[in-house]
Structure formats: structure tokens, C-alpha cells
């Protein structure tokens, strides 16, 4: 190509005609046909006609040149070698070793090292680029949370353009796709998905890394509501799949905090998943770690995916309260009305409308009375109640003394709450001093005597700060607010506070046995539960009489609401609150904890000493301490290191009053990835087939066999067109030839 002018390294003939190719082709064919027929005709006519035929050919070709307008295209071109993109799987499944000494990722690295020379040779022809499943780069650790091979191939394939042509992709993976491709039920479905890659017109060669032991039984999914309501059924759906085991029937165990709850049988088919459904009815509020588990099969490749943890947060949709009243009264009526109107309370009432001594002149079927179901309420169904209220109720006529121990256990060991409201049948009047309830109630009650005078209860020091008596805005004096309420009337005398009891309101005149003011409203935290005592049965005056004076009567409504909130340990009534920025967090990411401490007056407490302990599986606890800021908050950011449950416990020691709160967060270590760890030849094969690539296994991988598109692409940087024929000259030739032909015909006497 040395004849080419400087600056050009390539040339080509081109047409400068404005007509399109089809028109030119037709013109050429027509011209050639005319010339051929003309020449054949003249050949038969003798030698002189040959000259005329030659002139026709010249004229026809000249016309064709005028139409085609041939030119020489001088070019300066660049030839770009196509890239080869290596996509190397860096998901967690690559950490599996398939029973071999090295993990899949290590075996891939070993193969790359062993084939370095071939790859270097390849590099000489085609630049090599590396991608992980999440984008450009070289895989360092097998830690990716998911494997979406279709998505992973998109960046290299979409980078194919003229400036940076792509010759081939080499996908190195176990094929354990966690998304659509891996979950495709049939080969046809898989093929259809893989064919989406064919549009890039670049072959994807696949190298599958896996093991001989490919059998795997695994839990591929757990579907459950993250929030459950106490005493309501929670459904947990578990998907179990297998690979290389054939159809199997296995038990699926559900455990709570390590203890077996129940078991179901899963019949896992040859292909597809088995679903089993568990129903849990949580009896307590709180956060619980559940585990579903299938047994490890003989020669199973991966055992980590045979179990899966999940957190169930059990909350209370409504406080379920049992109100047992000894007789219909105004105190009962106003309490029932207040509780019924509360959207947060599910109230079950039992009122003693008729005692055994009452006269009944009509048949039973003419009344609406029902039996008092003592056994059901205080034995079989007791666990379903958050709060039990005994209002002026005497248990003795109902042969239920033996059931009161259940109520005590409900408080002490089950975290239940008990409230007793006054009247002649309450406390000592109901002979409760001789019952198991004496162990849990806030007052001692050997006395069985009523004082029927009107009185204005007096706020105690504890009552000044206690949430039960938060009846108005914090800025208002509680003692003044209590003093402004209507007087109460009559109390059942009690002997004083029980150990651990706290008086919030006391009688202005009556004294306890130790000489202190007699409690009117007292509370107690005992065992896991809480109890409350109101020794009068005229609290209703704070509603009716208050409203009759033109006031709002809201103090009564708030008092009842606050009593129940405190009894139920409503977080809003807790002085230490621990919250996290997220319920689930991926491994390697951080979660922000916030510990909020309130003082005894339930206002934010600055400079409170706080300790936060965070525990993860297989890792020493992280313990951090500090003081709360001005807003009563202590914050800490923690990076989750391992998958599974992360437990946080906040503690604050305030004037020897220890406060504690716990919180669970789930460290998401790619559950989907852990679920399907077995290698998938079928997935890798589908990708190679759909794109025209070659599917190989790692132990037989051969770079020379890889399919590649054009090894190089030529780009024209600059060019110049030189017309080979002048139009006017060509036309002159045509006219001249026609003129010569006419002259010869005249001379030879053909005209």
C-alpha cells in the first residue's frame, strides 16, 4: 500500500451516485443486457458490424459511468482488538468447598494462576477486563449477598460499542443463581430467560465451578409477618428444596430460642419446592428468635443451609382485660364505660348480677343470666388476659379459692397484671389476706373494716412522679390537680403497704399499722408482673361529680388509661427505651442504636450512665458505655459482622434503680445465597447456549476453545474520495461515439 498518499493506510472503490444501490444495480443489468444483445446481433452480421458493436459497448459503459459515478476512497483506519470480560462470581456460595480442601473461590484463583500463560497470550490479542457479580472489579472475598447472573452480565455486555468492542465474556461461577434464572422451574423457562442476553451478540462462555458432592437439602425460604400480635395466630411458611437427592420426605422442626416447638413433615419433590406451614400463637409480648431446621442428609454438600433463623416481634394489638365485678355499681359502670371506649382495650366483663342468696321467682330461661365460668376464667383462659381487675369481688361464694393461686402465678411468672378495686367485698372484706393474692397485691389487708367518710386523697412523693398519676400537662402541679378533684367517699381499710409496694395516693386521716398514711392507690412490681390497689369504690366521682361541677372529667379517664398502660409495661410508660434504626441490616452495614433515658418525672434525663451490650454469633460481645446527652439520649452505631440475630441490651443504673431494655436486629447474611449453595451446570449451560458461547467445567476449562466474536474491529478515523471519471468527459465520449457510429454507417452505406 506504499502507493497511497501520506496519511492514508487503506482505500476502496465507491460510488458517488445519489441513486440508491438497487437503482444502480438495475441500471447495470439493463445496460449489460442491451450491450450483450447488440454485440450478439452484430456478430452474426459480419466484421464491420463488430466495430459498430464496440462503439455501442463504449457508449453504454460511458452512460453507466455517468450514472454510477465511481470514485476512489482513501482512508486512515485504526484496528481495535475486542475485549474479553471475565465475570467472576464473588457471592457467598463461592466460599463452599464441596467437600474438597479448597473453596470454590480458591479453586478459581488457582485455575487463573495455572493458566496465566494462556491468559497472557490472550491478553496480547484481546484486552482482558474483570467483573464481579456486582460490577467492574476483581473479586476479593466470597461475600456477595445474592447471585443474579443475568444482572451481573448486563454491565460487560452493555459496554460493547465501536470504540470499545467486546469479543467475548467468560463467566466463572457455580451457577447458584438466587434470582429468576436459578428459580426457573423448567429448562425451557431457563432458556427463555437466558436468551435475553443474545441481543448483545457477544458469546458468553461459562466455566462452572462445583463439586462432585452436589447433593443438597436446603431451606430456600421462610415467609412470615415480622410483627405478630400476642395470642393471635402467626403463620410461618417454610420452603424446602433439594438438589441431587431425588424426592425425599424429611421432618421440618420449628424451634424457639433453641427449644423444639413443633415439627411437620415435608415431602420434597424431584423438582420444585415443598411448602410446610407452621402456626404459632405467641402468648407473651416480646422479641423471639425462631429457627426452622431440616436434618442433614448423608453426603450432603452444604449443611449450613439446612436451618434458618428468623425473628418474631410479638406486640399487643389491644390490652385484653378481664373485669370481674362483685355487684353492679356506679364504680363498675364508670370503669366499664371508660374501658369500653378505649380503642386499646379488649374488655371481657363478668358481673355478679345475682348472688346465691337472691330470690329468683322466675324460671331460668326467662332471665339472661349465665353461669359464672370460674374454671374457664381463672384456669384455662387465664393466660389470655393481660390484666385482671377484681372490683369489689368476693371470691368465697364461688368455690374458687383454689383458683387464686393461678392468678398469683399469672402475675409472678407470666408477667400478668392484677388490679383490685375497693368496696365492702375487696381486700380484707373479701378475706384476701388469707389467699395467695396476698403475696402479690401492693397492700397488706388483714383488716376488714370500712371507713365511710368523705376524704380528699393526698399525693405522696412517689405519686408526684409516677406515670400512673400523669393526669395533666407536666407543667401543672400534681398535688394541686389531685386536691382540685371531687372528694372520694369511703375506703376499705388496709394495714399498710406490702413489701415492694408503693403508695401513690394516701388517706388524709387514716393510718396504716406502722403509723404511715393509709394507701388509697398503691402499686407494686412483683415477679414478672405488676399489681395495683385502689382501696375506695368511689373513683367514679372523679368523672361524674367532676363533670357535674362543669369540669371535663378527663382526670378519671386519664387515670384509668394510665393505670392500664403502667400495668401492661407500655413502652411509653418505661423510663428506658432502646430503639434501632433498622430491623434488618446486611452484614457489613451499620445499625444505629438510640438509648433514651427518662428521669423519675418522665422527663429526658441528661448525664445518665448507660451501658450498651451487643452480642452476635461467634463474636465477643461489644460493650460500650457513656452518658446521655441533654435530650436524654445515648447513641451508638454498630457494624454487623455476621449473619443471624444481633442482640442489644441497654442498661442504666439510676439511684440504685436499674433499668434495662433489650432489642433484636437481624443480620442479613444473604439468606437466599445460603439457601441454594449447590452448583448449577444447567444454569451455566443455558447461558452459554443462548449466546453462542462454550460451556466448560473448571477442571476442563480451555481458553483456546472459547467462542469469540470479531477479534478486531476497524474504525475509520479519516478518509478522502477521489472521483475516477468526469461526467462531462463521459458525456463527450458518448456523443463522440454516437457521432462516429453515424459517420461510419453513412460511409458504409448502412443508412
Amino acid at each position: 500500500m506504499k502507493l497511497l498518499p501520506p496519511g492514508y493506510n487503506d482505500w476502496a472503490f465507491i460510488s458517488q451516485s445519489p441513486l440508491n444501490g438497487w437503482v444502480l444495480a438495475v441500471a447495470a443489468v439493463v445496460t449489460l443486457a442491451i450491450v450483450t444483445m447488440s454485440v450478439l446481433a452484430y456478430l452474426r452480421a459480419g466484421r464491420r458490424y463488430l466495430v459498430l458493436g464496440a462503439l455501442h459497448v463504449v457508449a453504454a459503459l460511458s452512460v453507466l459511468i455517468v450514472v454510477v459515478q465511481p470514485a476512489l476512497d482513501l482512508r486512515a483506519v485504526t484496528r481495535i482488538p475486542g475485549r474479553i470480560a471475565f465475570v467472576i462470581d464473588d457471592s457467598q456460595s463461592m466460599a463452599e468447598n464441596d467437600g474438597l480442601p479448597k473453596s470454590r473461590a480458591e479453586r478459581v484463583n488457582q485455575w487463573l494462576a495455572e493458566h496465566q500463560a494462556e491468559l497472557d497470550a490472550l491478553k496480547g490479542q484481546n484486552p482482558i477486563e474483570y467483573y464481579t457479580l456486582s460490577g467492574p472489579g476483581r473479586a476479593t472475598r466470597a461475600q456477595g449477598p445474592e447471585s443474579d447472573l443475568l444482572q451481573a452480565l448486563r454491565p460487560p455486555l452493555s459496554s460493547n460499542d465501536k470504540a470499545r468492542p467486546l469479543s467475548a465474556v467468560v463467566l466463572v461461577s457455580d451457577g447458584a443463581d438466587t434470582e429468576a434464572l436459578g428459580q426457573a422451574a423448567t429448562a425451557a423457562e431457563r432458556k427463555k430467560l437466558a436468551e435475553r442476553l443474545a441481543a448483545a451478540d457477544v458469546p458468553v462462555n461459562t466455566i462452572t465451578v462445583g463439586g462432585k458432592r452436589s447433593a443438597d437439602l436446603y431451606i430456600s425460604g421462610v415467609i412470615q409477618d415480622p410483627i405478630a400480635f400476642v395470642r393471635n395466630t402467626v403463620k410461618v411458611e417454610v420452603r424446602v428444596e433439594q438438589k441431587g437427592l431425588g424426592a425425599v420426605t424429611v421432618p421440618v422442626s420449628l424451634k424457639r430460642e433453641g427449644s423444639l416447638v413443633t415439627q411437620q413433615t415435608a415431602r420434597v419433590p424431584e423438582s420444585g419446592a415443598a411448602k410446610v406451614q407452621f402456626e404459632i400463637v405467641p402468648a407473651e409480648v416480646g422479641e423471639f428468635v425462631f429457627t426452622v431446621e431440616v436434618p442433614v442428609q448423608p453426603d450432603e454438600a452444604v449443611v449450613e443451609n439446612n436451618k434458618r433463623e428468623f425473628i418474631v416481634k410479638v406486640v399487643r394489638d389491644k390490652i385484653r382485660a378481664l373485669l370481674v365485678s362483685g355487684r353492679p355499681s356506679w364504680d363498675e359502670r364508670f370503669l366499664r364505660r371508660s374501658l369500653k371506649l378505649s380503642p386499646n382495650v379488649d374488655l371481657i366483663s363478668f358481673f355478679i348480677l345475682r348472688t346465691p342468696s337472691d330470690f329468683q321467682p322466675v324460671p331460668q330461661n326467662e332471665s339472661s343470666l349465665i353461669p359464672f365460668p370460674t374454671h374457664e376464667l381463672f384456669e384455662t383462659e387465664l393466660h389470655t388476659f393481660d390484666v385482671v381487675v377484681l372490683q369489689n369481688f368476693d371470691y368465697r361464694p364461688y368455690n374458687m379459692a383454689y383458683l387464686l393461686k393461678n392468678l398469683r402465678e399469672h402475675v409472678l411468672n407470666k408477667g400478668g397484671a392484677l388490679a383490685m378495686f375497693g368496696g365492702e367485698s375487696s381486700f380484707g372484706g373479701g378475706a384476701y389476706a388469707q389467699t395467695p393474692l396476698a403475696d402479690v397485691l401492693p397492700v397488706e389487708m388483714a383488716a376488714a373494716e370500712m371507713d365511710s367518710r368523705d376524704f380528699q386523697p393526698v399525693l405522696t412523693t412517689a405519686g408526684e412522679k409516677h406515670p400512673v398519676l400523669r393526669l395533666q400537662a407536666a407543667s401543672t402541679s400534681r398535688s394541686k390537680a389531685i386536691a382540685a378533684l371531687p372528694k372520694l367517699s369511703g375506703v376499705m381499710k388496709v394495714d399498710g403497704l406490702a413489701p415492694g409496694g408503693t403508695a401513690l395516693l394516701v388517706h388524709p386521716d387514716l393510718k396504716a399499722r406502722d403509723g404511715s398514711p393509709m394507701p388509697v392507690l398503691a402499686v407494686r412490681e412483683v415477679g414478672k408482673g405488676r399489681t395495683l390497689a385502689v382501696t375506695t369504690d368511689t373513683l367514679w366521682r372523679w368523672s361524674f361529680a367532676d363533670k357535674m361541677r362543669g369540669e371535663s372529667g378527663q382526670a378519671y379517664e386519664r387515670l384509668i388509661a394510665q393505670m392500664f398502660r403502667w400495668l401492661m409495661r407500655d413502652p411509653e410508660a418505661s423510663r428506658l427505651r432502646l430503639v434501632a434504626s433498622r430491623d434488618r441490616v446486611r452484614v457489613g452495614e451499620s445499625v444505629d442504636y438510640s438509648v433514651r433515658v427518662l428521669g423519675a418525672d418522665y422527663q429526658p434525663l441528661p448525664k445518665a450512665p448507660v451501658t450498651l451490650t451487643i452480642s452476635e454469633h461467634s463474636r465477643p460481645d461489644t460493650v460500650t458505655s457513656g452518658e446521655t446527652a441533654e435530650d436524654g439520649t445515648y447513641s451508638y452505631s454498630y457494624t454487623v459482622q455476621h449473619g443471624g440475630v444481633v442482640r442489644a441490651k441497654a442498661e442504666a443504673r439510676l439511684e440504685d434503680d436499674p433499668l434495662e431494655a433489650t432489642l433484636l436486629v437481624y443480620g442479613d447474611d444473604a439468606d437466599k445465597e445460603r439457601a441454594a449453595l449447590g452448583s448449577r451446570d444447567d444454569v451455566m449451560g443455558a447461558i452459554a447456549d443462548a449466546t453462542g458461547g462454550v460451556a466448560q467445567s473448571l477442571d476442563r476449562a480451555d481458553p483456546s476453545a472459547w467462542a469469540r466474536a470479531k477479534a478486531t474491529t476497524t474504525n475509520v478515523d479519516r478518509h478522502q474520495e477521489i472521483a475516477l471519471w468526469n461526467t462531462w468527459a463521459a458525456l463527450l465520449v458518448v456523443v463522440s461515439v454516437l457521432a462516429v457510429e453515424w459517420w461510419l454507417r453513412r460511409r458504409w452505406g448502412f443508412v
Partner: protein, 234 residues
């Protein structure tokens, strides 16, 4: 042993504030107490048949009487047209109902019924009287009541005013007090027409149900009671 139990159980009397007191509205310009023995007798039957403890006698009170703070149940009876209440009385009765009180209006005759209805329009203008449906919990709060009672049966149904899902006023046109009323010797003061003693019994049962409803509200509509009540009504 039984005697000892009864002795223990009855050792403590309820104090007055925890018993159910009946207020009886005393007003000028009308016969405010046409059946003086009615509440006493009803109270006797209530204590005899139920666990409710009452003060036995009605307490005559003016609408503005401060003692009403202890008596959320009011008996308002009359015979013949009554004079209009003054503004303070109207306001006091309105406050009484809004605070949670219940008024039972017992009409001996049509003249009183007409005049008391005018007063109700002044007390609770936003809530007109309406018929109380047969399926209302008032008719099953203690007894299952299949028929109306009263000294007479002038009208086939009672009327009431509902506020915030609660009957705050119940009006009887049938002189229930006349059916309840009994002298100290146990003789009924008035004949009951047309149903005789069964109609009187229905009147007594209604009185008991009314107080039971006032104290327990819609307790008998709680889910736990429904199967029992449905079975007994078959």
C-alpha cells in the same frame, strides 16, 4: 358452717356512697310525686332479686340540687301537665345527662307526657326522642322481657334518647310507677289493666332491667352472653 360463711359474708355493710341512690325530680307547677310508694317497692324487688344494693327510698331533689352528684339515676314522674322548668333547671338537667346520668320519665297521663316532652326538647334539643327497639339490650339486661308492662298500656313501646351509644333518657307512657306501687301491708295500690298481674310482673322486670342497664350498660351484648340468650329465646 353455712351460718359461719353467711356471718362472714355479711360482716361488712356497703357504705352509702357505694349503694345506688334514686333521685326523684321535684319540680314546681305539677304533681311531681304521683306514686310515692313506687321506688320503694321497686328498690325492694331489686334487692330481693339481684345483687344491686340500693338506698331503698327515692330522694326528692330539685334539678339544681348539689346532692345529684351522688345519684346518677333520676326518676321523673308526673300526673297532669307540668309547668315549664326555668333556665337553670334546664341547664342542670342537661349537665346531669352529659355527665353520665340517666333519667327515667314515668307518665301517669297524656297531659304530663306532652308537657315533659316539651321540656326534653329544651334540655336536649339536639337529640329527639325515638322509639326504643324491641331488640335493645334494655329488654335483656337481666330478664328476657317479651311484653310491655305498666299500670296501663297506653302505647305499645317506650321512647328514649340515645347519646354516645347510651340511653340517657327513657320515657314510659304506661305509668310503670303505678304498677310497682304497693302499701306497707303489701297490697298493690293500683289495678293493672288490661293484662293483670302478668303485666305488673313485666313492669317490675322492666324496672329491674332499667337499673341493670344503667349500671352495666351493654354488658349483655358482650359476645360471651349471646349464645346463652339466643338459646333461651328459641
Amino acid at each position: 358452717m353455712i351460718a359461719l360463711l353467711l356471718l362472714t359474708l355479711s360482716a361488712i355493710e356497703p357504705h352509702p356512697s357505694s349503694t345506688v341512690a334514686f333521685a326523684q325530680l321535684k319540680y314546681a307547677g305539677g304533681a311531681w310525686n304521683p306514686r310515692p310508694n313506687a321506688i320503694r317497692r321497686l328498690s325492694f324487688e331489686i334487692e330481693k332479686r339481684t345483687s344491686i344494693i340500693t338506698t331503698h327510698e327515692a330522694t326528692p331533689v330539685a334539678a339544681t340540687d348539689a346532692r345529684l352528684v351522688d345519684m346518677p339515676f333520676m326518676y321523673w314522674a308526673g300526673d297532669g301537665a307540668m309547668a315549664p322548668l326555668d333556665g337553670a333547671q334546664v341547664a342542670a338537667l342537661r349537665r346531669y345527662v352529659k355527665a353520665g346520668g340517666v333519667i327515667f320519665i314515668d307518665c301517669v297521663d297524656e297531659a304530663f307526657e306532652a308537657s315533659v316532652k316539651k321540656e326534653l326538647l329544651r334540655i336536649l334539643p339536639e337529640s329527639p326522642l325515638g322509639l326504643i327497639p324491641e331488640e335493645h339490650v334494655l329488654y335483656k339486661s337481666f330478664y328476657l322481657i317479651p311484653a310491655h308492662g305498666g299500670r296501663v298500656l297506653r302505647k305499645p313501646a317506650l321512647e328514649g334518647i340515645v347519646q354516645e351509644d347510651r340511653l340517657v333518657v327513657v320515657l314510659s307512657p304506661n305509668d310503670h310507677g303505678g304498677a310497682w306501687s304497693r302499701d306497707d301491708f303489701g297490697r298493690y295500690d293500683f289495678e293493672v289493666e288490661p293484662g293483670g298481674e302478668s303485666q305488673r310482673e313485666m313492669a317490675l322486670r322492666f324496672g329491674i332491667n332499667l337499673l341493670m342497664y344503667t349500671l352495666c350498660l351493654d354488658y349483655k351484648e358482650d359476645q360471651v352472653h349471646i349464645p346463652f340468650i339466643m338459646r333461651r329465646r328459641k
